[in-house]
Assembly symmetry: D2
Homo-oligomer: 360 residues x 4
């Protein structure tokens, strides 16, 4: 179904950008996992708009309420319902353009599909929908930490053509959170911030790449054929708003190597089977091999800009759209917790699937 | 489940590269669709090894038998079972290396996951598993043609660093099939063939990119949130053996544009809402907008090469692997029908989902 | 997943009897269906405790809030989130017995399964969980009415050994709602009310049977094999708290007929294929034949009684449980809207599935 | 999907009664389970027609071939494909009546749903479809035995109005298989056999009840809400051809008890929590409590009889059907392995689901 994800650690999100609220139901989280609303709020705060000068000034609190499934600080094994109320509803801001199809937004396609849409914002296509994912991802992250020590960390690795150099073995959350670009390469981060700020002033927007590294991954996660780990990670991250590409390990660049250059030789290190290189990106035949999983997600420049654009309205009349007010010049820093959440959801799901198969 | 794909046009594949056979069960295909075994065989023949000097010399017939679900040339609405017998079983070719983990194959990860594997070949990780997908894809393709006129066409757009120029609006199946590289740019195809043949002689292998264009797509296919069309296409194609990356429309390159450069302006053409550019790749907000869907899949150089490689065996002993005999220097030409099949499966599924939503 | 139901009209419920609230997410409801919160509330009010002297005196308001998916009185095609807050939380009522396993409740089995439970009431096993189902069922009912004219009506047909006589062709909602027993046979209803009231005074409880009739069912709903209509109806209703049996058409009694007595002859009436009897209960080979679907659900006497009972606590000590306060002597009248809701959910799901198959 | 069942131990069946063959794909069976084709054949032989004078004389061999997923006597963890060829195809037997809707068969409803059907027999509605289920059930049974010691045993408990007395604690497979009625009460079995044989001679048919007992069930299997164990068992068995009712524990009869008579008191026996009665039928709140699971399935008299019956054909003309030749006067003895298979499939699925939740 369109709003559910996962087989065993399964989430269903709901809510439009305008209306009562947005949220998620997490079905399948094992019982007796310690979890607090603060742990969930931490990731939501990294996702919310208005957290720095780089993002939209919309100052939403995005405060999570746990409706069910947690009792005296522990999960019950029953569905965890989480609700975040919508606060900053200002339909008037959209009223002037309610019949206009904003270029590269989902206005036209929703209309074509459903014959109706909530024009008071982006509806389900709004990045606000990711609140439910990020909340659920925080629970998945806790489960993985607790049960396996697995750690998921994402960061901005490129903004437009500004590339960061990142040591995937040693990069830390502190380094990522040290600047508002969420780029752990501090020097490059400065250039990124400057470029984003400049786009903001121009009313323009920027895209780029978020990279994600998963460390301490137990070998054996993922499945042959359709639910290969990379297939599920691609599905998960390509479902994020504005994503246009996914690659794992050597990715697109690796296709320019030959087999002898690309294959990862096996060796024994500390009594464990390891590879001496990691062009596979931690996954072979769809299944984790115990090396770090490394993948990248391409995000296009955000579609909302403050420049005049040619478009049409629902009556088929040519119009010029001149968006006013809010404008988020670069979604990348806020996309970081979204990418982490999706990775955690995929890995938690496969962790439980592997547990079903092997009993451990 | 690991071996099922799709919600309404749902397939389940089975079979290892060695054993009784491989096949597929297609559940959910509408009734009264005319389909013949020849239509299925056509795509299987494009997939099979040994069809040209570029691929492994394994001369498999890969002959399909329809076991159920088709009666007097039409689908019954009940599950379509298709079986392809394994013929060329030569376990002895693998016996010498049955304990050795072949680099960048799935030997080690299957062992880590299951504690057992069929060492007589690649098991489920073998490209042979894709027979079931390609057979099912032929049925999905027929359904799409019949009901919507939708057309899916893939081709090799890059081998290593050799790039083809392709006109996505006008490229034809005849052009694709005109050479053994399956590259519709005839001149570039020659260079590709030469390079692949040279890699074959070296015992080395090459990767590259398959591009796929879907034309005459009705607007409204795909769903918000988790089952966005690009998310399902990414899932589908990243589940193919050797795939390392996916991108749609402007993809990774598009992230170096700004918003004003990247957005696709709307216009009215022939009374229909159209865009004047197609950086979106035919999908906006996860839903088709009626423009051509264009996506690319990166395939790594195939892992099987005929050069000595360092590895270990299951006892933890260092070994040098020197593969003999068969060797497929470049999977790309055979990957073309696989990519098409996955696209057809995704689109047929979303076509039925949309029909459930709107009744037409 | 344990808290989701349906394939295309899919619901996920959440919430314990104590905690923030209970609710449901409905995913897959087609767009542009007119629906109001009042239509949902109508069925919730028939479900709620305290509506008559026959039920628990717990006076819960059970007021529904639509959180998402409905805009200006119409469904958007996106998930419909509905929340009902818990108001009457009185954990102290349960505190004395928090370690005691109440006989024929789920206390022990939840503990055995999860190693934790919310002892402040019945948790997910509480009938309060059905709020989400009934709310979702009201939407499914509206969809069926609107699209097909299909009508679903349930009623109490037996309390303990008191049997009603009901004309399934002509029984009306007004007749059902005319008395607090929800038995459309007015005379028998009086006897039922008397018997239930007497059980209430005794601190004892009663079981019985709810019958459900679905009229104006289009032929062709339901699927061969695992998702036969009767299989899904059995699944749906056997998932209601306290249900112990299900039968369709001639049911258990019909097994004492021979084939010649049992088969339903076909005939032509008003140009349509009809049967002259309906021992099949409107379903043949798992698929509706256009006759009324008639099924029955057996509900055991409710487990909560006010008589002393032998049991044990979680330390393994023998205890005598003497429940105080609340007590619902017969769940049947409140089970009527629950059974209707489950039937509507199954039929709406199969209606959409059939629409996917045939496009109409 | 209509032809798949189960979440983690998931089966997809295919095949019509006439055509290439019938079979099943089992996806999700854990690796390294020892299984032989003989273990599968054993249950198939109990299911096949022609095994005694009580059943249709169709002497089908129903020989199973394992196509995949088993290697050197053990499961690989990958899909297990099983195929049984159709041998006894005699379309001519059906040709005369290919346009006639046989009363209480699925001919008319398939036609109404699909607009096409394989008239050379019962198609997917044929009992032949259950071959795939029984084969898969044999694997599920082995998994349960191996991992938990759980034992599933069914038998005929009633034919028409002839009731057997069975001690559910001590009944054995040997007693069940001791006579062709599969009724472990030897004396009653004789009466049943006589009655069935007499119906056979009359060209009439009989229904009845199959009871199933599951012993050594670990507490904690099953889930709250929609996937309660009884709901899944009801779904599973109500999907068998000719089933009209399901009940668990006290069932329909138990609704005539009051709460104090019906509740099962808890006690401690051998250090374990037990109940002193078992009106719950081994399941409380949808979850196993460690007592034996006992349920019953009602089967109508088989629809195929050799007496003249009024019906219509597809042109709407009144016809009299006089079936010739084959005729199975009572499906009950052959339904026994089908019921066992469905119970094994449900329990194996919930066993894996519980393992995912708790890791053991």
């Amino acid at each position: 179904m369109s709003s559910s994800f996962g087989q065993l650690f399964r989430i269903s999100t709901f809510g439009e950008s305008h209306g009562g609220g947005v949220g998620v139901v997490v079905d399948g989280c094992p019982p007796r996992l310690p979890i607090t609303v603060e742990e969930i709020q931490r990731d939501l705060d990294r996702r919310k708009p208005g957290q720095s000068k780089l993002t939209t000034p919309r100052g939403e609190a995005d405060e999570a309420e746990i409706l069910s499934g947690v009792f005296e600080g522990q999960t019950l094994g029953t569905p965890i319902g989480i609700l975040v109320r919508n606060k900053d509803a200002r339909p008037s801001a959209y009223e002037d353009f309610k019949d206009v199809y904003r270029p590269s937004h989902a206005d036209y396609t929703y209309e074509a599909k459903y014959g109706i849409r909530n024009w008071q914002g982006g509806g389900r296509a709004s990045a606000r929908e990711t609140i439910g994912r990020v909340a659920a991802g925080a629970i998945a992250r806790k489960l993985l930490q607790q049960e396996t020590g697995l750690e998921v960390l994402a960061y901005v690795s490129r903004v437009n053509d500004i590339r960061a150099e990142i040591d995937t073995d040693n990069v830390t959350l502190e380094q990522v959170e040290a600047n508002i670009a969420r780029c752990p390469d501090a020097k490059t981060a400065e250039a990124m911030i400057e470029r984003i700020d400049s786009a903001r002033k121009d009313g323009d927007s920027l895209g780029g790449v978020v990279e994600c590294v998963c460390r301490n991954v137990p070998p054996g996660l993922g499945e042959p054929v359709f639910d290969k780990l990379e297939a599920d990670l691609a599905h998960a991250t390509m479902s994020l708003p504005a994503s246009k590409g996914f690659e794992i390990g050597s990715g697109f660049a690796g296709t320019e190597l030959t087999g002898i250059e690309h294959n990862d030789p096996f060796t024994i290190k500390d009594g464990r089977v390891r590879t001496t290189s990691n062009r596979s990106g931690g996954v072979q035949g769809g299944i984790s091999n115990g090396e770090s999983i490394i993948f990248r997600v391409a995000f296009k420049p955000t579609a909302t800009i403050r420049k005049p654009q040619d478009t049409v309205d629902s009556s088929g009349t040519a119009r010029v759209l001149e968006a006013k007010g809010r404008h988020d010049p670069c979604v990348l820093p806020r996309a970081v917790p979204m990418v982490e959440a999706m990775a955690c959801l995929v890995l938690a799901d496969h962790y439980l699937r592997q547990r079903a198969q092997t009993g451990k």
